[in-house]
C-alpha cells in the first residue's frame, strides 16, 4: 500500500479511496471542528459520541486511525485503548489520544494503556496535520507488515499441507508390520520431521524363505527428496529388480542403482543399505552405499554394526558395491536405522550418537521388538528435549524367530 505524504491530501496522493479517521469525542463542538479540519485534509471521517459507540464503529469500519478524547461518558479513552489492544483482530490499530494537558504522568499512563500518540486539544493546524499524517504512516506500515505476515502464513500453511500429503504418500509405501515370512517378524517406526526428509524403507518378498529389505535416505528436506525416494523404491520392487538387475545380490543391485540415480543438479544423492535374508542358509547378505546406521543384535547380546566405508549412490557411476555375507541364527535381530534417530542433538548441541543408541538397545535386551524400538525412540526424544525431530526417523527391526 503506498504511503501518503502528510503534506498532500490523501485523495491527491493516491488513486485509492481516502483513508478513514474515526473521531471519538462526547463534546460536539470540538468534534465538529476536528472533523471539518480532517475532511479538508482529504480524509474520510466517521464520528462517535462516546467510547462504547466508538468501539463499535472501529470494529465495523476498521478506520486507519482513531482520534479519541481522554475523558468521556460510558467508556473513557484509556479504557477504549485497552479494549482495542486486547482484541487480536484490532490490536494494531493506530490511536491518537486527545488531551488538554501535557503532564508527563498522564502521557505515560495513556501510552501504557495503549495510546500510540497524543494530540493536544489546542493543537495548531500544523500539529494536527503532522500527527495525523504520522499516525497514518504508522498505520500503513503496520498493515503492510500484517499483510506480509498473513501472506507468509498462507504460504506456510500450503507448504505444510503439501508436506502432510507427501507424508501420507510415503507412509502408504511402507511395509505392513508382522510376520513377513514364517520365522521373520518385522516391526518398524517412521517419524517424519516437520520439514520431511527422504527416508523410506521396505521389504522385497522373493519367496517363502528369501526376502530383501532396504532403508534409503534421499539427501535434502521437503517434498522433492520424498518423491525421489518414492521413485527409487519403484526401481527396488521385486519385478523391477528381476528385469533391470537380473539378480537379488545386494551389491549388484546397488551397483546398478548407482548408474541409474546420479547426483541431481542440486547435488542431492541417496544413501542406502540393501540386505537379503536367506532363511535356507541362515545368511544375511548386505551392501551399503554411504549408510552406516544398521546393526545386528545377536541373541548372545553381541552387537555388530554393518559398517563399511562406501560412497553414497550417484557420486561415481563407475563405482561398484560389494556384498558382505554374515551368518544369522534364530533370536538374532537386525536393525536398519536412519541417521535421524542417532544424530538427534541435545539442547546443548551434543549428538545422541551410535554408542548411546547401542547401549539403549543392549539394556532393553530381549524385550519384545516393538517395545525395544518404541523405547529407543523415547530415549532419543528425551535426549532431544522435545518430540519434533529435526530429521526423519526411520527404524526397521527384524527378528529371526526360526
Amino acid at each position: 500500500m503506498p504511503l501518503v505524504s502528510p503534506s498532500l491530501p490523501p485523495s491527491c496522493a493516491t488513486q485509492t479511496a481516502p483513508q478513514t479517521v474515526l473521531v471519538v469525542d462526547d463534546e460536539p463542538v470540538a468534534r465538529i471542528s476536528l472533523t471539518a479540519r480532517l475532511k479538508r485534509l482529504g480524509y474520510r471521517v466517521i464520528e462517535a459520541g462516546d467510547g462504547k459507540a466508538g468501539l463499535e464503529l472501529l470494529r465495523r469500519e476498521r478506520p486507519d486511525l482513531t482520534i479519541l478524547d481522554w475523558m468521556m461518558p460510558e467508556m473513557d479513552g484509556p479504557t477504549f485503548c485497552e479494549q482495542v489492544r486486547r482484541d487480536p483482530e484490532f490490536r494494531s490499530s493506530q490511536i491518537l489520544m486527545m488531551t488538554g494537558h501535557d503532564q508527563p504522568e498522564q502521557i505515560a499512563e495513556g501510552l501504557a494503556r495503549g495510546a500510540d500518540d497524543f494530540l493536544s486539544k489546542s493543537a495548531s493546524k500544523q500539529e494536527i496535520t503532522a500527527r495525523v499524517g504520522a499516525g497514518l504512516r504508522a498505520a500503513n506500515l503496520v498493515r503492510t507488515i500484517e499483510n506480509a505476515r498473513d501472506e507468509i502464513q498462507r504460504k506456510q500453511d500450503a507448504l505444510e499441507r503439501e508436506l502432510q500429503s507427501a507424508v501420507h504418500y510415503v507412509e502408504s509405501l511402507l511395509p505392513i508390520p508382522g510376520m513377513l515370512l514364517p520365522g521373520v517378524e518385522l516391526v518398524h517406526a517412521y517419524r517424519p520431521s516437520l520439514a520431511l526428509g527422504g527416508d523410506l524403507f521396505n521389504v522385497v518378498p522373493w519367496g517363502d524363505r528369501l526376502l530383501g529389505l532396504y532403508l534409503l535416505d534421499a539427501s535434502g528436506h521437503g517434498v522433492s527428496p520424498a518423491l525421489r525416494s518414492a521413485a527409487f523404491s519403484t526401481f527396488l520392487r521385486g519385478d523391477s529388480l528381476l528385469h533391470q538387475v537380473g539378480s537379488n545380490d545386494p551389491g549388484a543391485i546397488l551397483t546398478e542403482a548407482n548408474k541409474r540415480f546420479p547426483l541431481t543438479e542440486d547435488g542431492n544423492y541417496f544413501t542406502i543399505i540393501f540386505a537379503r535374508l536367506d532363511l535356507r542358509s541362515h545368511t544375511l547378505s548386505y551392501a551399503a552405499a554411504g549408510h552406516s546406521g544398521s546393526f545386528l543384535h545377536r541373541r548372545s547380546g553381541e552387537v555388530s554394526w554393518l559398517k563399511h566405508p562406501t560412497l553414497p549412490l550417484g557420486f561415481d557411476c563407475s563405482n561398484t558395491y560389494g556384498t558382505v555375507d554374515i551368518p544369522v541364527t534364530p533370536g538374532d535381530r537386525l536393525y536398519l536405522l536412519s541417521d535421524g534417530l542417532y544424530e538427534v542433538p541435545a539442547p546443548t548441541g551434543e549428538l545422541w550418537g551410535q554408542a548411546r543408541l547401542e547401549d539403549t538397545i543392549c539394556e532393553l535386551g530381549r524385550r519384545p521388538l516393538a517395545e525395544v524400538i518404541s523405547r529407543t525412540i523415547d530415549e532419543a526424544t528425551r535426549w532431544l528435549g522435545h518430540d519434533r525431530f529435526p530429521d526423519d526417523v526411520a527404524v526397521m527391526g527384524l527378528e529371526i524367530t526360526a
Binding site: 462526547d26 463534546e27 463542538v29 465538529i32 479540519r37 481522554w70 475523558m71 486539544k121
Partner: protein
C-alpha cells in the same frame, strides 16, 4: 463589551481554516447547549460529586477551546483540576467565575451570529 475581549474570532476562524459555515454551526450548537453543560457542572458541584465535576468541566473546556476564549478556558481548566483533586470547596468560587465567563461568551457568540461574520 466588545466580543474581541471575550474571545478571538480571528483565532477561532483560523482553527477551522476560516470556514465560516463550520464556525457558525459550532457557535449555534454551543449557544444552544452551553447553558445545559454549565447546569451539569453546577449540579455536579451541588451534589458534591468531584468526578462528575471534572468530567463536565472537561467537556465544557473542549467546546470553549474552539472559540479561543481565554478567561472561560482558564476557568474550565481550573475547575477540572479541582474536580480531579476533590477540592470542592475551592471549586465553588471557580464555578461562579465560569458561569460569568460562559454567559459573556454565549452573549458574544450570539452577537456575532446575529450580525453575521462579515460584520
Amino acid at each position: 463589551m466588545s466580543h474581541h475581549t471575550i474571545f478571538s474570532l480571528e483565532e477561532a476562524l483560523a482553527l477551522v481554516d476560516h470556514d465560516r459555515d463550520i464556525f457558525q454551526a459550532m457557535a449555534k450548537l454551543f449557544v444552544e447547549h452551553g447553558l445545559k453543560d454549565l447546569a451539569e457542572t453546577q449540579a455536579a458541584l451541588a451534589a458534591q460529586d468531584a468526578a462528575a465535576l471534572a468530567r463536565s468541566a472537561h467537556r465544557l473546556k473542549g467546546a470553549i477551546l474552539q472559540f479561543c476564549a481565554p478567561a472561560a478556558i482558564e476557568a474550565t481548566i481550573q475547575l477540572e483540576e479541582l474536580g480531579k483533586a476533590g477540592d470542592l470547596k475551592s471549586a465553588v468560587k471557580v464555578c461562579a467565575k465560569l458561569e460569568t465567563e460562559l454567559l459573556r461568551l454565549l452573549a458574544a457568540l450570539r452577537h456575532v451570529l446575529d450580525k453575521g461574520l462579515s460584520a
